[in-house]
């Protein structure tokens, strides 16, 4: 996979250290639909990888296998040197290292913003409440919603909710962040505030895997862009190559539809 390491991202002193290694991952849904047909991918430390592709191509399913929200039947996945197995302890260990942001935010509506963010650090990391709240307030300030800390998710706009969701995932101090179409459920005027937060997160050196249709974000922030179609990884390239000079016919067709 070394040919994909880009020279365009200077903030990668340990670029060769892999954080996620997926090998020949295959998955069938219960109705025997072959959704992943042998996908291999390596994500390096500090890298921002954008996954694009038409809907139904399996891209969400694929990144959800990284933290075992989806099972798979063949192949192997290694996260931060730990091989993913069916063992519950193993899955919990990996989930602690991997943060996830969902399309539908999935905030806990019965808890305040602050409690949404402190829930996992208090109960999973066993931090004292004061420490968890201090970290949470710092994160809420970082995503720009400090003054909403005592409100409930239902009182916030979609963009604010998604930023809380990012803060909630970051509160566990993960090594990897997965974004599953984080802006797809947002009103257009709120997309930007979320992308800004993700941009600053990327520049802080976080390892990120982002499923998105935001071409601007991919061009500007991604170190690599991959295209998935019909359960296969079709193309892997730097953003410049991907958008300006794609090799595969499938990629050209996809780009002609979205650009």
């Amino acid at each position: 996979m070394t040919q994909y390491q880009t020279e365009t991202s200077p903030a990668e002193p340990m670029a060769s250290e892999p954080m996620i290694i997926a090998r020949d991952v295959e998955k069938w849904y219960d109705n025997n639909f072959h959704v992943l047909r042998g996908v291999s991918l390596t994500v390096n430390k500090g890298e921002v990888l954008v996954v694009m592709g038409p809907s139904g191509s399996g891209k969400s399913t694929f990144i959800r296998t990284f933290n075992a929200l989806e099972t798979y039947q063949k192949g192997s996945i290694e996260v931060d040197g730990i091989k993913l197995s069916h063992d519950l302890k193993n899955i919990e260990t990996i989930r602690r290292e991997v943060g996830m942001v969902f399309q539908q935010f999935n905030l806990f509506p019965h808890l305040t913003v602050l409690k949404n963010v402190t829930l996992a650090p208090i109960w999973v990391r066993r931090w004292p409440k004061a420490k968890a709240e201090e970290v949470a307030m710092q994160l809420l300030e970082r995503v720009g919603i400090l003054e909403q800390a005592q409100k409930f998710p239902g009182q916030l706009s979609g963009g604010q909710q998604q930023r809380v969701a990012i803060a909630r995932a970051l509160a566990m101090q993960p090594k990897i962040m997965l974004f599953d179409e984080p802006t797809s459920a947002l009103d257009p005027e709120m997309v930007r505030e979320v992308l800004d937060v993700m941009r600053s997160l990327a520049s802080s050196g976080m390892t990120m895997v982002v499923v998105t249709h935001e071409v601007g974000f991919a061009r500007e922030v991604a170190d690599r862009v991959v295209l998935m179609a019909d359960g296969l990884l079709v193309e892997e390239a730097t953003p410049e190559e991907f958008f300006n000079n794609p090799r595969e016919e499938r990629t050209k067709k996809f780009l002609s539809q979205i650009l």
Binding site: G99, M100, N106, A120, V124, F152, M172
Partner: protein
């Protein structure tokens, strides 16, 4: 849009109808509606007149005051009534305290409707046809509620943890009250055969409610479990119990259970009835809670899992709190029907409120006083059920505050 200025965008005034206009609009808007209104009002007035005439002239109410202690506590020995009064005092004080703690954020504790309520209950207590000492006790009960509420509110503002202490006090008081009523440990034993009346109804209902709630939640979770044995057991239990009438379960408990137990082992009759009520209600409650569980989107579980919360934490911190909140109306509905189902204990020979009423009616002195007695206990049942209904709506409003 160019002509509209922001200042003119106030909503139009809602037109207040005068009483005549209201009547015209709602009751006499057309010929047919006018006739319907007149006929129905005439029927209602006729019924009401008959009822008032019956209540004030025909009805012979002396059956109620003469048997008031029976209605309240059954055959409980009169020289031990003081124990029940103490239990009454504990419960009223705790109720007042809880009210005060819950209302510590409200601007005014004793608002006008509350004051009217307190005044009305004082007048009512003072007029209850019992010896003056008991009237004093009842008035003391009202005073304890008011005082408890005031103390709870003042203390609750200073000590945020008071709520937890009050919960603990309720838990402890449960055993203290049972000890006061049943005796043992320095107190004369009062056999549960002598418990009766409203007191027995309340004991059976409250104990069953407290026990069936956790059982129902566990069954609901079991029905959704990924472990096949747990799931099958839950489904089997729920479907089996829901297929049997409560009265059959109660008869099984009273008649069949002693046949299976070894001859020496005797389980208290009231306990057997409570177990029957609990097992029965748990199955229905489980289905109510399951409805709530199914209403929680899968994304909630996924988000909790992705944060590293294991299954018990996900269920306990994320799924169950939301599911229970949705199910409150259904759960309280189940509690209300459980309260009313305690009347079936009369059929298996326990003298709770309905049972004691029937035995009073069997007394030749009060022969034929059915209407008076059943109206009286009907009002008692209604007061308790309506209170639960109000409490449930309050709880819902409180839990919803700010969330939407």
């Amino acid at each position: 849009m160019t002509t509209t200025t922001p200042t003119s965008s106030a909503p139009p005034d809602i037109v207040q109808l005068g009483p005549i206009a209201w009547l015209h609009k709602n009751l006499f808007s057309s010929w047919s509606n006018s006739i319907l209104t007149i006929v129905i009002v005439a029927l209602l007035l006729n019924f009401l007149r008959g009822f008032v005439v019956w209540v004030t002239t025909t009805a012979q109410w002396e059956v109620i005051p003469l048997n008031l202690p029976r209605f309240m506590v059954g055959l409980y020995p009169a020289n031990q009534y003081w124990r029940i009064w103490i239990a009454f005092g504990i419960i009223t004080a705790l109720a007042g305290l809880s009210w005060g703690v819950l209302a510590r954020q409200t601007a005014k504790l004793f608002s006008l409707p509350v004051l009217i309520g307190i005044g009305a209950s004082c007048v009512f207590m003072a007029l209850v046809p019992v010896p003056p000492l008991y009237r004093l006790m009842l008035l003391a009960g009202v005073a304890l509620v008011v005082a408890g509420a005031w103390v709870g509110r003042q203390a609750g503002r200073k000590l945020p943890a008071l709520g937890r202490w009050v919960s603990l006090a309720w838990f402890v008081s449960f055993f203290v009250v049972l000890w006061l009523i049943g005796g043992g440990l320095f107190l004369r034993n009062v056999s549960s055969n002598d418990w009766g009346g409203l007191m027995l109804t309340l004991i059976a209902a409250i104990v069953s409610i407290v026990l069936c709630f956790p059982a129902g939640v566990v069954l609901a979770l079991g029905r959704q479990s990924s472990l096949p044995v747990v799931r099958w057991f839950s489904v089997l239990y729920i479907e089996l119990i829901r297929g049997i009438p409560l009265i059959a379960i109660l008869f099984m408990g009273q008649v069949m259970l002693p046949l299976f137990l070894s001859p020496g082992a005797r389980v208290d009759r009231i306990l057997r009835a409570i177990v029957g009520l609990t097992l029965f209600s748990a199955a229905y409650l489980a289905e109510n809670v399951r409805g709530g569980l199914q209403a929680i989107p899968r994304g909630q579980t996924e988000a909790a899992n992705a944060l590293g919360l294991n299954t018990p934490l996900t269920v306990g911190l994320v799924v169950l709190p939301q599911a229970l909140k949705i199910s409150i109306p259904a759960i309280v509905g189940q509690f209300i029907s459980l309260f009313q189902d305690t009347t079936l204990l009369a059929v298996v020979g326990l003298v709770e409120l309905l049972g004691i009423s029937r035995s009073i009616l069997a007394n030749p002195q009060f022969l034929g006083r059915y209407a008076e007695v059943y109206l009286f206990i009907g009002i008692i049942y209604w007061v308790f059920c309506y209170t639960m209904s109000i409490a449930s709506r309050r709880l819902e409003r409180q839990l919803n505050a700010g969330q939407r």
